[in-house]
Structure formats: C-alpha cells, structure tokens
C-alpha cells in the first residue's frame, strides 16, 4: 500500500475522458504523482497546492474532480484547528518558558546566625535583586556591598538556574583578650628584645622567620602556668631577598604550531553523551584542556576537548652582559613590591655568583625596625 505524501493533495477524477484530462493537465505543465486507476473510470493522483489551483481552472472534459484528501498547508491548518486546545497549551507554555527562563524566582540565604534574613533580603532588594527581575546581576558588586553593610567576613553569591544562592560567613569573634602568642611578621634577626609580660622564646642574635613564636602568652610560677596577654618591645633587622638563575644556554621546548585532538567528550549536565580518545603521533607534546559550553536555551551541553600540541627542543643562548642590568632591575622591582609601605630600606646588596653554564643573581634588602606588641 502506497503511503500518501502529507504535503500533497489527493485528487480523484471520474469519467469516461479521464485519460484525456490527465494528458491535458500534463500538457499545461502540471506535475502529477502516483496516478492510480482505482476503477475503469476513476483515477486518483497527488498534486501540490499550486498545481491544484491551476487544475480546477482547466476544462474538465466531462470528468468529475473531487479532493480525496487535503494536503500541504491546508492539512496542517485543519489539524491545528481541530486540536486547538493543544495549540493554545503549547503557546502558553512557550510564552511561560521564554518569560521566566531568565528571571529570578528564589533567593536562598545560608550561614546566618546573628543577622536576620529579612534584613539581608531588603538590602538585596535595594541593590536591584527583586523577584522576577532579570538574572543579570554583578555578583562581585553584590558581595562587596553586603560585606560592607553588615560587616560579614565572607559573602559568596552564586546564580543557579532561577535561584540566587547567598552564602554568608558572619564576622569572626574578636581576638582581643585572648591569649595568643607574639609571632614574627617578617624574616628578621633579633637585635634586642624586652619582654614585659609573657615568656620569651628568642634572644639577641637569633634569626627568626615569619610565623615563628617570639613571646609565649604565659608565665610559669613553680609548677603553675598563668596565662596573660604578652607584651614586648623588639628591635630587629629585617631582610628580604630574591634570586634569579641565569643560564648561558638552555634547552627549552617550544610549540611548533601543530596540534591534534586526543580526546573529546560531550556532557549533558552530569551525563556523558559521547567520549572519544585516541593517541597522538607526536614524539614530544604537551596537553591542554579546553572546555566550551554549547548550551542551548534549556540544555546544559558542555564540550570538553583535549589537545596535544607538538613540541620541539630548541637551544637558546643568552648574553649575560646584555641582560644583567635588566634582570637586576626586575628582581629589585618585584622585591620592593613585597615590602610593606611603612618600612624604610636601609641597604641594598646585589650579588652575582658564577655557576656552571650561568650565574645566580641575588638581591638583598635590609631594614631596621622597632616593634611594640601589647
């Protein structure tokens, strides 16, 4: 049984002159398909909308022309009209999806113990985060505003679907009146130490590093230990250093520009749709992952590709005399950037030590400070 083509109208002609009528249609340039002789006088065939309009204007030569089945646009429109409820439902759903897809519906606030949720919500509303507003918030700015207004330690805002998730870490408890030891803030050499309260752990001439304990927050009276807030005055010489290894010639790997895909994976959310892996023909290569999100309007599709970049060994020779001044300036600049603003540098020392196939350049800065802890 032949299947009807839904894009075409099925026409039936009946009469003694049917064949002549068909010949007449063909001579007028009409295209007829699947001509079937159903009885000795009846024929059916399929014809498109445009040719049908022309067909009914022709001399029918005594034949009866009827439409057995409507096709094309008319059939589609008829189908839709008879299923109007479905059509209205689909339209309403589409409108709903388009309107609400990119709008904020819920705000979740987590981590609050002392501040009320209503206060945070009203603060967010003042910053433009309201229900059904567009999800085009600058989360960094919102985090900063909330941190400043409520004095939170940490605020993290994340957009997930139609929800805004606000994670809050409230202010940490004050460390005043707690018995914490005095620790070194810098790498330094102790020039002198005067302890007014607490137990000293270092003496003159000791080298201490950042984080080392200088004064313990207790004193021992016989077998008893009494905890107190440590107080001390320390004079020290701070030292800062930076070093750079210069090689006269070294072998490095550089990319040739050729690349090959070694792995490709397509994920729909957390589900793996496709995964392909193959080995590369390069002798030396390095791999790099590239993730691109090909998300349609509703589906989170992530494409993960791993590329192998071909490498080749190259020997680079350098001239120390030409580059020495530049290297020293760069090292000094980066070292000065690590020094706190209120410190005054007293001396600068640059040391160049020759080694096999190169040099080591060391930059030293020293400063004297008087620190008071109470």
């Amino acid at each position: 049984m032949k299947r009807d083509n839904v894009a075409l109208n099925k026409v039936k002609i009946s009469g003694g002159n049917s064949i002549n009528f068909i010949n007449n249609c063909v001579n007028c340039g009409l295209k007829l398909r699947n001509i079937d002789r159903t009885t000795s006088r009846d024929f059916t065939f399929e014809i498109n909308d445009r040719d049908y309009k022309q067909l009914i204007t022709l001399d029918n030569r005594g034949c009866n022309i009827t439409i057995d089945k409507v096709g094309g646009k008319k059939r589609l429109i008829n189908n839709l009209i008879y299923r109007i409820g479905l059509v209205i439902g689909i339209i309403i759903s589409l409108i709903g999806v388009i309107l609400f897809n990119n709008r904020l519906i819920q705000v979740h606030i987590l981590g609050l113990t002392r501040t009320s949720e209503e206060m945070v919500l009203s603060s967010l509303e003042e910053l433009g985060v309201t229900k059904f507003s567009y999800m085009s918030f600058d989360t960094g700015k919102l985090e900063q505003e909330l941190t400043e207004e409520f004095n939170f330690s940490l605020v993290s805002i994340m957009i997930k679907g139609n929800s805004l998730i606000v994670n809050i870490k409230e202010e940490l408890p004050s460390l005043e009146n707690s018995y914490a030891p005095i620790t070194a803030d810098y790498n330094m050499v102790i020039n002198s130490i005067k302890v007014y309260a607490g137990t000293s752990k270092v003496k003159e001439g000791d080298i201490v590093y950042r984080g080392d304990t200088l004064v313990e927050p207790f004193i021992k009276k016989g077998e008893d230990i009494v905890y107190i807030v440590p107080t001390a005055e320390i004079e020290a010489t701070l030292f800062f250093s930076n070093s750079y290894v210069f090689k006269n010639s070294e072998e490095v790997y550089v990319r040739t520009g050729e690349k090959d895909i070694v792995c490709s994976q397509i994920n729909l959310g957390v589900f793996k749709i496709s995964y392909r892996e193959k080995s590369t023909s390069y002798n030396e290569y390095e791999e790099e992952n590239k993730i691109s999100s090909a998300s349609f309007y509703f589906l989170p599709i992530i494409i993960n590709k791993r590329y192998a970049y071909e490498l080749e060994k190259k020997t680079i020779t350098r001239d120390f005399d030409k580059e020495k001044d530049n290297i020293i300036d760069t090292q000094k600049k980066s070292l000065y950037n690590t020094i706190p603003e209120n410190l005054k540098i007293e001396s600068e020392e640059i040391k160049v030590t020759p080694i096999t196939n190169g040099y080591i350049i060391n930059v030293y800065l020293t400063s004297k400070v008087q620190l008071k802890y109470s």
């Binding site: 064949i19 063909v26 295209k31 398909r33 079937d36």
Partner: protein, 93 residues
C-alpha cells in the same frame, strides 16, 4: 541523419532527446521505467500502459503498474514490469 545529430550532441554535450525529438527509455531492474519525450498516454490500467511516442506506441506490460510521476515530456512508471514493446499507432478515442 540521427547518427550525425547524436554524435554532434555528444561532442557539444547537449541532451540527445531534446535535439533528435526521439524518445528515451531507462529501465531500472524490473520495477521501474523512465520514459522521456513521450507525447501522451493512450491507455492506462494496472497491467498495461500505452504511450504515444512520435509515430509509434510504446506498450508496457506488467502487474500492479502505477504512474509514479508524470510531467510534460517525462513519465516514471513503477510496478512489476514484464515487457516493453514498440508498436504502431492505434489510439482509443
């Protein structure tokens, strides 16, 4: 004359049937037949199709024959085609 024209047509790469006004028949196995440059349908039913071509008729016999596509000058016939013969004009009016 026809040979000369067909040679000329193959050199110039022109469609043979349009130049010579002769019919062209392509038979696909035993299930399909394509005819170009026919004039009109003389008779048609499920086991026979008779076409007028120039001064002759082309008779196609078989079972469950149907005209799949018909256009000005070309026709595609499908079905279990058993034989094709060229005959003298004997139109049924």
């Amino acid at each position: 004359m026809d040979n000369y024209i067909s040679e000329l047509a193959s050199i110039c790469k022109l469609p043979f049937e349009d130049i010579t006004k002769n019919f062209k028949l392509i038979w696909f196995g035993s299930t399909g037949l394509y005819v170009a440059n026919y004039k009109r349908i003389i008779d048609y039913n499920s086991d026979k199709v008779v076409l007028k071509i120039n001064n002759n008729t082309l008779e196609i016999f078989g079972e469950n024959i149907c005209i799949s596509l018909i256009n000005k000058g070309e026709i595609l016939i499908k079905g279990n085609i058993s034989s094709v013969s060229l005959g003298v004009v004997n139109e049924k009016r």
